[in-house]
Symmetry: C2
Subunit: 316 residues, 2 copies
Amino acid sequence: MQFPTFDDLLAAHERIRPHVHHTPVLTSTHFDRLTGARLFFKCENLQKIGAFKARGACNAVFGLSEEQAARGVLTHSSGNHGQALAYAAAKRGIPATIVMPETSAKPKLDAVRGYGGRVVTCAPGTKAREEAVATERARTGAEIVHPYADARVIAGQGTCARELIEEAGPLDAIVAPVGGGGLVAGICVAVAGMAPRTLVFAAEPANADDAFRSKRAGRLIEDDAPQTIADGLRASLKPITFHYVASAVEDVLTVTEDEIVAAMRLVWERMKIVIEPSSAVAVAVVMKNAHRFTGQKVGIIVTGGNVDLDRLPWMA
Amino acid sequence: MQFPTFDDLLAAHERIRPHVHHTPVLTSTHFDRLTGARLFFKCENLQKIGAFKARGACNAVFGLSEEQAARGVLTHSSGNHGQALAYAAAKRGIPATIVMPETSAKPKLDAVRGYGGRVVTCAPGTKAREEAVATERARTGAEIVHPYADARVIAGQGTCARELIEEAGPLDAIVAPVGGGGLVAGICVAVAGMAPRTLVFAAEPANADDAFRSKRAGRLIEDDAPQTIADGLRASLKPITFHYVASAVEDVLTVTEDEIVAAMRLVWERMKIVIEPSSAVAVAVVMKNAHRFTGQKVGIIVTGGNVDLDRLPWMA
């Protein structure tokens, strides 16, 4: 198992800079009042493809040798990583094949195709997806870029934390949603390299709480096909990301589906940004655990904004 | 009639800086491809109170003498200016009375009260509102801060164009929605002072096209209670703002209600920001008139993001 270093993260940042946005950091008097903390929202929903995953995918794709690149890239994804890999591959001019659950929201399927990716659908659940990837891999010889169990991807994702810390200054904590754990792992790499006093909290839906249970148990516990509105967080940790959750993450905090929807709506209403349910998980965690962050400077990674505008969760 | 100078705008900028956000400028590959132009979206939806109107209101309120300020401020507004004046007054610790049409969206009424403003409702239409203001003025002696026919307000609104030009560099055009015309007037002041080659276009709903007809006719034509989804643009020009539309604005371009809704939805979906219909008018105008902007650098003022999330216009 190869862990990315802080130098890998710095190299990733240089590599991806021409291909991703330096996203803004927003503040909100309303949320500061609600929580008693000073919050800094790193807006990766305004990132290319609408999510931080553009970072990891670009780092993986642009780090390939010419020979590797020529065979294309391949992944499975519930959505944003698929779009990200399609985007990155198109930028480099190489083919991308994305294995997606057939239950994915239509805008996510369309978006992958819109970026030039080839979509292969499969049954929901981690196992079915991984089998489909193996089949495609055998057929094409494409480079697999796992959505999160990949040192290149982790180093790429961590660059958003570096930008956040550089812009907001020293933070007491960074709160980010955890699904497969690639983002949280990347944040841990950034924090270890540049802000070792900053605590990293992982935010998780109670309905998909494999990270919460794994950290408590001290061993990796996987879910298969958990049910949560936070569709970006249905994946389970893998050994490489569990390593960070177990050893570097301060705590895993969970919220209910209702808390996720309420936080999502409140961000739309007060901050005027479109965030997806997965992002709202981090906001909801800070609201629910405000007592832990009183008077602190807290960074929140707003991970993405890819939603189906015809099916908003507060609509009956 | 007192016209603000570029020096007034610079003074306004210094005065309001502690009280308003320096909002980000976003770009979008998707909209650039759609239009063939290079677009720079000045995100005043991310401004305090969710709209650029925080700028003009703060300039008016913080420019008052102590004696004037003690009697409070008063205005009529279909929404955002009311919130802005309530916000600015609360910041200075003085009372604000806001006369609002009884048809205003509930979130707008609540928001004015949330900022500490006192709401007085009246029938829709310019005349009814102005009568209600006169009554309140006689009772309180408060300083009237008109939503747009006010040199202080115009100078304040223009500061967003200054920031846009400083960040995006020389622009071929700036497109902004026109209702009462305060923003467009302020942009004209900014452009005259710092970027005289930049053309200013006013974007207007065809259903509320008093600026379009006034410019064509060469004289001020007022609407009363026009019907458009762009609720921030139902006001008519006044002589001071007509002056800019007649003499400094390159053209007034109109769009249909359907075009407004389509542009609004597309911005939410692709740019992940919540914009109100009035803002979408400017985006729709650029999309509809893309041939006029081919290869150009075009700034768009995204004026605000105050919408009722339970009543989105693309929902049946």
